[in-house]
C-alpha cells in the first residue's frame, strides 16, 4: 500500500468533532486559492483572452478613428440663380474635409435629391444676390437641411451659415463697405480644446468595455461551471457559496481592471495621444467598485440562464440598455427627467460614467466624485446581495 495507513478518521469522529476551525483567515485563504483557480481558467480560454485584448486595444482605436459624430464629408448642393462673382465665391468656400464636392443642381432637382438622401444640404442663392449685397438691399439665402441626418443637420447648418456670412462680409469689405461687429466673442473649449471626437469615444469605449466584458466574463465563468458540473464539486468541498462567488467576481473584475488600466495608459494616452486629465488611480478605484457591481450582475444573469445560449440572449439587451441609458453615448440631461431618475436608481453605470468623465476629462478629485463613489458602493452592495441570494438558491436547487 503506497499510502501510509492513516488513522481511521471515523473513529476519531465518533468522539464528536472538534468545532470547525473556520475563522476569517480560512475564508480569505479559500477565496485567494479560488481566485488563482479562476485566473488559471481565464488564461486557459484563448477566445475570451483574445476578446479582452481586442476589445481594449484595436476596438478602442477603431472606434476612436471610425464612426464619429464630427460633421465631415457633408453633402451639399447649390442652386445658383445668380451666376455672379459673389455666388461663385460662396460655392468655392465649401471644401473638404468638412464638405464633399459641391453638387450644382437646378431648382427642380432639389426635392428628389433630398428625398432620396443624396444631398443633406441645399443652398439656394437667389438671382440678383450680388447686386443686392452691393446696394445694401435686404435679401435672403435659403438653406434646406435634411433634418433626418441628426448628426450633421444642426452643426452643419451653423457652419454653412457662418461660411456664407463670412464670404459675404469679405466680399462687402472688398467693395469698401466696412462693417465690424462691436463685440468680439471668442469661444474656448475646456478639457478638449479642438473638440476632437476621438478624445471622447476612445475613453467611453474603454468604459463600455468594462461593463460589457465584466458581465460576459463573470456570467460565462459561472455558466461554464454549471454546464461542466464543477460547481457541484466546489459545493461538496469545505467552501461556502460566498467564497465561490467572491472569487469569481474578484478574479474576473481584476482581469478587466488591469486590461482597462493598460488600455488607458498605452492605447488611449500613448497610441491615440489623448491626454488624461485626472488621476488614473482614482479612476481605477471607482472602476474596481463598479466592476464588483457588474460582476455581480453577471453572476445574476448566469443564474437566470441555464445555458450559454440563453445567457447570450439575456445579456445582449441588458448590456445595450445599460450602455445606451448611461450617459456614455449621449448626455444624461438629454433624457426625460423621469428616466434619469429611473436609471440612476437602478443601474450603477450612469454613476460610473459620470465619475469617469469627471476624473479622466476634467481632472476631478475625490472631493468632487465622492457622491458617485457612494452610489457605486450602495448599488454594488445591493447587486451583490441579490446575486448571492440567487446563486445560493439556484445552485442548491430550491
Amino acid at each position: 500500500m503506497a499510502a501510509p495507513a492513516h488513522p481511521a478518521r471515523g473513529a476519531a469522529r465518533s468522539q464528536g468533532p472538534a468545532p470547525a476551525p473556520l475563522g476569517f483567515g480560512t475564508h480569505v485563504a479559500n477565496v485567494l486559492r479560488l481566485i488563482v483557480k479562476e485566473l488559471r481558467s481565464i488564461r486557459a480560454d484563448p477566445v475570451m483572452l483574445f476578446l479582452v485584448l481586442y476589445a481594449f486595444s484595436f476596438a478602442v482605436v477603431s472606434v476612436a478613428s471610425g464612426a464619429s459624430t464630427e460633421a465631415r464629408n457633408m453633402t451639399i448642393g447649390v442652386v445658383d440663380e445668380d451666376h455672379s462673382d459673389l455666388s461663385r465665391q460662396i460655392v468655392s468656400a465649401f471644401n473638404p474635409p468638412l464638405f464633399k464636392e459641391v453638387v450644382p443642381i437646378g431648382p427642380d432637382e432639389v426635392d428628389p435629391a433630398m428625398d432620396t438622401g443624396r444631398l443633406v444640404f441645399v443652398i439656394d442663392l437667389p438671382p440678383r444676390l450680388q447686386r443686392d449685397v452691393l446696394s445694401g438691399h435686404p435679401t435672403s439665402i435659403e438653406l434646406d437641411v435634411d433634418a433626418t441626418a441628426m448628426t450633421q443637420a444642426g452643426n452643419g447648418s451653423v457652419y454653412i451659415q457662418t461660411i456664407i456670412t463670412q464670404e459675404i462680409a469679405a466680399f462687402a469689405a472688398r467693395s469698401e463697405r466696412n462693417d465690424t461687429a462691436p463685440v468680439r466673442v471668442v469661444t474656448r473649449a475646456k478639457f478638449n480644446p479642438n473638440l476632437q471626437t476621438s478624445w471622447f469615444t476612445s475613453v467611453m469605449q474603454v468604459i463600455n468595455n468594462i461593463t460589457l466584458l465584466t458581465v460576459i466574463l463573470t456570467g460565462a465563468a459561472l455558466i461554464r461551471e454549471r454546464e461542466q458540473g464543477t460547481v457541484e464539486h466546489l459545493l461538496v468541498m469545505p467552501l461556502v457559496p460566498i467564497e465561490i462567488m467572491l472569487a469569481k467576481v474578484i478574479a474576473n473584475g481584476m482581469v478587466i481592471l488591469v486590461a482597462a488600466g493598460f488600455s488607458l495608459l498605452i492605447v488611449v494616452e500613448w497610441w491615440l495621444g489623448v491626454p488624461i486629465a485626472g488621476s488614473i488611480a482614482l479612476f481605477l478605484f471607482g472602476a474596481g467598485l463598479y466592476a464588483l457591481a457588474v460582476a455581480a450582475l453577471g453572476i445574476l444573469l448566469g443564474t437566470i440562464a441555464t445555458s450559454m445560449g440563453q445567457f447570450g440572449l439575456l445579456v445582449i439587451p441588458v448590456l445595450l440598455l445599460m450602455q445606451l441609458l448611461s450617459g456614455s453615448s449621449t448626455p444624461m440631461e438629454s433624457m426625460p427627467v423621469w428616466l434619469q431618475y429611473v436609471v440612476q436608481t437602478v443601474s450603477p453605470t450612469p454613476h460610473f460614467v459620470a465619475l469617469a468623465q469627471a476624473v479622466l476629462y476634467r481632472g476631478a478629485a475625490l472631493s468632487i466624485v465622492w457622491p458617485q463613489l457612494l452610489a457605486l458602493i450602495a448599488l454594488g452592495s445591493i447587486y451583490f446581495a441579490f446575486a448571492l441570494a440567487r446563486f445560493r438558491r439556484v445552485i442548491f436547487g430550491d
Binding site: 500500500m1 486559492r33 433634418a147 441626418a149 463697405r177 478624445w199 461538496v236 438629454s334 469627471a358
Partner: protein
Amino acid sequence: MNDAAEIARLDHVSHRYGRTVALDDVSLGLPAGRMVGVIGPDGVGKSTLLALVAGVRRIQTGEVLALGGDMAQRRHRAAQGARIAYMPQGLGRNLYPTLSVFENIDFHGRLFGQGRRERRARITDLLTATGLEPFEARPAGKLSGGMKQKLSLCCALIHDPDLLILDEPTTGVDPLSRGQFWDLIGSIRARRPGMSVVVATAYMDEASRFEWLVAMDDGRVIASGSPAELLERTAKPDMEAAFIALLPPEKQAQHQAVVLRPRPPGLDAEPAIEAEHLTRRFGRFTAVDDVSFRIGRGEIFGFLGSNGCGKSTTMKMLTGLLPATEGTARLFGWPVGSNDMETRRNVGYMSQAFSLYSELTVLQNLELHAQLYHLPPHDRPVRIRELLDRYELEPVKDARPDSLPLGIKQRLQLAVAVLHRPAMLILDEPTSGVDPIARDAFWRTLIDLSRDEGVTIFLSTHFMNEAERCDRISLMHAGKVLAVGAPADLVQERGSASLEDCFIGYLAEAAGIDREAPAGPEADLPAAAPRPGPHRHLFDPRRLWAYARRETMELLRDPIRIAFAFLGPMLLMVAFGYGISFDVEHLRFSAFDQDNSPESRQLVEAFTSSRYFSEQAPIRSAAELDERFRSGRVQIALEIPPRFGLDLQAGRVPEVAVWLDGAMPFRAETSRGYVTSLASQYAQQLVTERTGAAASGKTVSVETRFRYNQAFRSVNAMVPSVMMLLLILIPAIMSAIAVVREKETGSIANFRSTPVTKFEFLVGKQLPYILIAMISFLLLVLVALIVFDVPVKGSFIALALGTLFYVAATTGFGQFISTFMKTQVAAVFATALLSIIPAVNFSGLLVPISSLSGSARIIGLSLPPAWYQPVTAGAFTKGLPFIELAPNIAVLAGFAFLFLVLSQLLLRKQEA
C-alpha cells in the same frame, strides 16, 4: 460471413476528427434481415460507423454501400434515405423536449409526407405497442429515460424503415425498460421480418440478444460473428470476458482480475451512513420518496436504478449538496447539514459526469483540491506524489483532462475524491462508459480503499457485474428503495436466476407488470401498413410546413426566446429613442461678469434668454470658474472682462470669452453653434440700437429650413433608424440560434436522416421568425407613435412591404451566419457583432449614407440595412409615396433571395 445478402458493406473506411482517429481502415459486411450488434466501450468508433452507414456523416476515405448503393452519392441517399431510420446516441437526442409525445411522432410523420389520417393511425399503433399511450400529451422532456428511448424508437419507426440504426438506445436505461425495449424491437421484427437492425451498445451483457456481433476497439473491428461463435472462439463464459480476450495482447496484459476480499469483522457497530425517511421534492415532483438505509463502516454499498430514479438526488442529499425536504441523514452519527464543513471534509464525492476543471492540468486540479481541503502545506506535495503514483497519473500530470481517455479521467476524479483521506466516498456512476479493463482496474482500487483503509464506499452503477461485487446493494426505482441486501441474498430470496433477473422482478412488481404474460401489448401490433409508394418529391410543402409548425410550437413554449423576440425590440426602441439623442438642451450656463455694467448685464441677458440654457448661480472668481467646470456643475460660462461697458461705449471692441465643457465634443460643438448665433444676434441688436436701423452689411439673411423634421427633434430621425437596427439584430440572432440550437441539442439529426431538403428546412425554420419580426415591426410602429409621437407620414404599404423583404433578408442573414457556427453562444455574439457594426456605422444611423466613402460605403451598401434605412426614413419622416421607395424595396427582395441561396449552398446535409 458473406453467405447471406448484405444490407451494408464498408470497404477500407477510415474516419478522423482532427488528430483523433475514429475509424481505422475498417472493412466489414453487415448481414441483411438480421439484428446486428456493434459492441465496445465509449470512444471506439461505434457511433461513427453507424452514422456513416445511415448516411448522416460524410465519408472521408473508403467506400460505404448500403441498401444496394453507394452512400457517397447524393442521388442514392435521396432515393433510398427514406428507407433508413436512424436514432442517434443520447437519451432522446432526436426529440424536442417541449413537444408532447404525440407532437414529436407527428412531426416525424409529416417529414415523410404522411396525411393526417395515416399519421393518426400509425401513431396510435406505435403508442399502443410501446405502452406510451397514457402519456400522449406529456412533453418529451418530462419522460423517464426508458420512455424517451421508446418515443425515439416510435419516431424512427413511423415510416416503416427497411434499415433501423440505433446508436446505444439503452444506455442509462433501467434493466426492466431495457428488457421491454428489446422485446419491442423483437416484436417489430416479427411483424416485419425483412427489416435489418443495427444497434450499438456498451453493455456487453446485452450482446447475447443479437444475432450477429461486431466487436470494436480503438477504431478497428476486432471480431465479428454470431455470439455463440465468439464465445466459442475465446472459450469464455460471458461476453465481457470474451471481449477482453479479443483485445490485442498488449491491452490484455494490463488486465488483472478483480479479487473480492471479505470485510474485516466488527465494523458494523456504528453505521457510517444512516438515512432515515429521506424525501426530496422538486416542486410537485417527488424525486426521492421516504428512503431509509444504514451503511456500515468500510462497506461497499451499491445503488442500482435507472436514470432519474433518484440515485443522484439521494447522493447529493448525503453530501449536503441538496437539503432534504423531509427526513434526516447522518454521517458517522452526525446529521448532515448543507453548511457543515466538517462533514464535507470527511466525504469524497465524484459526480456522474466528469466534473473537474478541464482548463486546469491534472496536477493543478490535484493542487487546487489539496489547498481547498486545507491539507497542511508540508503534506500537500507528499500526498499529491503518492496519488500520482498510485493512480498512474504521473505520465499525464501536465496534460489537461480533456485530452485524456475516459478511463484515466475517472482515475483522476477518484484521486481527487480520496485526496483529503475522507472516511467515506460517494461515487455517482464512476464507471459509466469506461472500457472493461479500466473498469476492473478502478474496482481493484476501490476494494483496496475499503478493505485496507476502512473507507466506506457508496456508489451507483448500471452494471450488474459491478453490483455483484458490492457488499450490499439497494435497488431503487421512481424515488423508492425496492430492496436492500447482499446481492447473493437478494437473488436467493426471490429465487431468481441472476441479479439482473432479480432486479427486473422487483421493478416489474413495483410497476405492476405481470411478467408471466410477456405477450403484453406488443402482441396487438397490427399487420404492417402498406408501404408508401416511391413518390419522393424534390419539394414537398408538407415537409416545409412540418418544420415551420414545429419551430413555432417550440418557440411559443420557450419564455426566454419569446421575451427576447417581443420585449427585446420594444425595450431597446425606448432605450435608443431616449438614449441616443442629439438634442442639446438644458445646458448649465453661468455668467462670470467682472464688469457688472448695464451693457454687460444686457449681454448676460441675451444668453440666459436662450431656451437651450438653464441658468446657474453666477461665478465670482476665476478659480471658481475652474472648479465649477471640473465638477461638471457648469457647462457653458460667459466671461465678461472688467471695463466691458466702457470699452463698448468707446467703440474699442471688447473681447468676451465663452467657455465650453469639451468633455463631450458633440455637445460642445452644438453649444458653440448656439453661442455663435446668440453672439451675432446680440451684435445686431447693439448696432440696431446705436444706429437706429438695420443699416450695416447685415442685409443678407440665411434662412434655414429643417425639412422633414421642422421641430428638429432627434427622436424623429432616430426612431426610423433604430427600427432598421432592431429588425436586423433581433431577427438575425433568433434565426441563427434556431439552426445552431438543433446542432447543439442533436435534433439536427432529423434533418440529416429524413428526406427533408435543405430548402424546406431553411425556409420552414425561417417563416416563423419572419412572422415574429413582422409582429414586432407593428409593435415598434405603435411604440413610435404612442411613446415618441412619430407617425408614419408616407406610404405605410411601402414601409410594410419593405419591412417584409428586409426581415426576410435579415433572418436569412442569421441563417447564413449559423452555417458557420457550432454553439449557440458563438452564434449569438457573432450575429450581434456582424449586424450591429454595419447597422450602426454604415447604414445612415449616425452618418448619412451619402457622406460615407471608400470601404465604409462598400460595406454599407453590400448589406440590407443601408437599403432599408431610406425606406423607414422615407415612410416615417420624409412622407414619401410608394413609388419613390420601390427601388430600395426591390433591392431588399434581392437580398432576401441572395441569403437564402447562400445558406443553401453552405448548409451541409451530412455531418463532417
